[in-house]
Amino acid sequence: MSALVKLVDVTKRYADAAALQPTNLEIERGKTTVLIGPSGCGKSTLLRLIIGLIEPDSGSVTFDGEPIAPDNIEGLRRRIGYVIQEGGLFPHLSARANVLLMARHVGKSRDEMQTKLQELCELTRFSSNLLPRYPAELSGGQRQRVSLMRALMLSPKLLLLDEPLGALDPLVRAALQKDLKEIFGRLGQTALFVTHDLAEANYFGDEIVLMNEGRIVQKGSVADLREKPAGPFVSEFINAQRGLATL
């Protein structure tokens, strides 16, 4: 089976600097690919290119065999789930309304929505009693669970997660990591996960993509990165993270 997402020679420049050097990447179906690297390495840019928040200067992005273009982007986005650090929930809508927003928009039936909602509550371990609450009435972890439900509502082929656990305290974070991994497994979900935490990357990643200064430095497992580093930056990055972890 071919890759779900293909980036071919994609570049992106912002006003002053190159955010992404010519980059090629394939995201395999049913696997979790983790993008890792220091701040400003281009990992979020890559994610935003795939969801069409920005357009590449050159090269092409293909989703499920379709090149992403302005005229088909809206339809493609409905096949992609997107979760960001703070959850991105709309404060004026209840948890339920946030989750159902797109389903209502595309005209799903009431029953269908209700069934799916129950299913997602169980999947994400979110108490359905909390559904009428507004984002301001939920904890950080609860908000991320709602955000995840919203992203999964239309059963997307691809789930994009941009440091989804970055703002949570360690206990909540650990619980959510466990739940997330389980969810990916149960759904056979193709996911692209952005983090700067190596342990998290190791926990989730079938394949880890290490980026630095707008280019992909190395792909593989954490073991590959550790034992066969592609350059001094890889060793430096691995050692820095390991040093902290062993403290």
Partner: protein, 526 residues
């Protein structure tokens, strides 16, 4: 020669209102006459004005300027027509010369009292058309007729305390040459005018050096307590008699004649014109002074008119109305003015705000335009709209002006409310795959609702306040008693309009606070 400024001066000094102060100055009036000239010369305005002429079918409409004598004369004309069996209404205190002249030409009013000197210099702009028959001939070209003089000449005069005049033996303006020590307290516009202090001083070779500018109403007080010895006044001013003053004879005939007449549309019915003409020669100066004095004493200009009809005819409608009735009429009209204009501001302001929130030259342009409108003094905006076709002296004009004023707070708050939405939330809405319309309607506008509503609230309160100025162009509302009160120098009448207007603003504020709870989504109020 500028009667509007004469009247405007009185009004502004008492109101102390920055906006009316600005707009009664020369600039807007200059603009109005310029615009008027422009429109008359270069467009098909006359045709438009005829199309929008409103008075053809209804009762005869009498206009008046905003000072006591004009009010009284307008009321007298209305009663005369009514007594002759011709339905008539009186639009009181519609503003100054240009506004009334435009309204008369446009057919929004059928007649109003005017002065020969003003007609020659302000309206015809013809210093040489001095005789009444020449003036009548020129007016006829615009379809306007003029009665014979009503019998009095309301021109400028210099006045001083009777006792002082007798003691010094001063009877004429020439006599002042012998008394250089006398202190002059002149109104600001008299100091500036082409027929004012400078040429007067030259003509009479007056030696007085101690000349100060002082407000007209305050000048009488200064004269009474001896701070000044001489001031300018209008010859039929009731205060001359009340304060035991004497008007000095203009022995060199410096001041032009200001014979009071009625101007009327020649298309008025013969009966109506005949009724107006019955007023010719019936009011000498003494009698007019008495009517003005009665109007000011009773704080009710209709009483001045009553005195004219000495047989004691039934008082007019305005007099018969009880205070609660009047208050309801004013308030309803006020709400109508403020409400319609606010509705328009919302309908146009929110979309403009949405466009402005996107920035760029168009966004900047919209915000710039709304800000510029806000800086035009409200009276000037009214004066600018009046000469335009479609507008004229009408409720439309008032609503349009208020609408333009209400725009800025709504546009600005809509734009800033939308711009304040965090980028991450905007991107979440886009990434979900919502269409642009849905994003705007279901995400961005609700999130900006607090800001938008507070803009609407600001507009509403501003509109309630500014709507009081609508009375200046005869659009009514709570400004009506405020204007009459200012003119009669009667604080009670002013408060009859000012207090309800203030209460109305408070109520509106309160209603919007309640609306906040309904319209701002609960999730944003946590």
């Amino acid at each position: 020669m500028n009667r509007i400024r004469k009247a405007g001066k009185k009004e502004t000094a008492k109101s102390g209102n920055q906006e009316s102060r600005n707009t009664n100055s020369r600039i807007p009036i200059f603009l109005v006459s310029w615009l008027t000239d422009f429109l008359i010369r270069f467009s098909c305005v006359p045709a438009f004005l005829i199309c929008f002429s409103t008075s053809a079918a209804g009762p005869a409409v009498i206009g008046s300027k905003k000072f006591t004598e004009s009010y009284v004369l307008g009321e007298i004309a209305k009663r005369t027509l009514t007594d002759a069996g011709i339905p008539a209404e009186h639009r009181q205190g519609m503003g100054g010369t240009i506004i009334l002249w435009q309204a008369l030409r446009g057919g929004q009013i059928d007649a109003y009292p005017e002065y020969s000197g003003t007609i020659a210099q302000e309206i015809l702009k013809n210093d040489r058309a001095t005789s009444l028959s020449e003036i009548r001939e020129l007016l006829a070209k615009s379809g306007i007729g003029m009665t014979e003089p009503l019998g009095f000449n309301n021109t400028y005069a210099l006045v001083m305390r009777r006792s002082e005049a007798q003691r010094l033996g001063v009877r004429t303006i020439s006599d002042l040459q012998k008394h250089p020590e006398l202190k002059m307290g002149l109104t600001h516009e008299f100091l500036d005018r082409q027929d004012g202090w400078q040429p007067l001083r030259e003509r009479y070779a007056l030696p007085q050096q101690n000349v100060i500018g002082i407000d007209h109403a305050l000048g009488y007080g200064a004269l009474a307590n001896g701070s000044i010895d001489i001031k300018d006044a209008y010859s039929t001013d009731a205060k001359i008699e009340q304060n035991d003053l004497v008007a000095l004879e203009d022995d060199l005939q410096f001041f032009p004649k200001y014979e009071a007449v009625f101007l009327f549309r020649l298309s008025m019915s013969k009966d109506a014109i005949a009724a107006l003409r019955r007023l010719e020669g019936t009011l000498n100066e003494k009698r007019m002074i008495r009517l003005n004095a009665e109007a000011e004493r009773t704080k009710n200009y209709a009483r001045g008119a009553d005195l004219y009809f000495e047989h004691g005819a039934a008082p007019g409608n305005t007099v018969g109305e009880s205070f609660p009735q009047k208050l309801i009429r004013w308030t309803l009209r006020h709400l109508q003015l403020a409400g319609f204009s606010l509705l328009l501001s919302v309908i146009f302001g929110i979309p403009l705000g949405i466009i402005a929130s996107r920035g760029g030259p168009i966004g900047q342009g919209i915000l710039g335009f709304a800000s510029v409108v806000q800086t035009i003094p409200s009276l000037a905006l009214l004066a600018l709209l009046v000469p335009l076709p479609f507008f004229g002296i009408s409720v439309r004009t008032a609503i349009t002006a208020l609408f333009l004023y209400g725009l800025l707070p709504i546009v600005r708050n809509t734009a800033s409310g939308l711009q304040d939405i965090p980028r991450s939330l905007r991107e979440s809405a886009i990434a979900l795959g919502l269409s642009p319309i849905t994003r705007l309607w279901e995400i961005y506008l609700p999130m900006a609702s607090r800001s938008i509503l507070s803009g609407i609230k600001t507009s509403a309160v501003i509109n309630i306040g500014t709507a009081t100025l609508a009375a200046l162009i005869g659009a009514g509302g709570l400004g009506e008693p405020i204007l009459s009160g200012l003119n009669l120098n009667d604080h009670v009448t002013i408060l009859e309009g000012a207090i309800p207007a203030a209460l109305l603003a408070l109520v509106v504020q309160w209603i919007f606070d309640l609306l906040d709870r309904v319209l701002i989504p609960k999730g944003l109020r946590l």
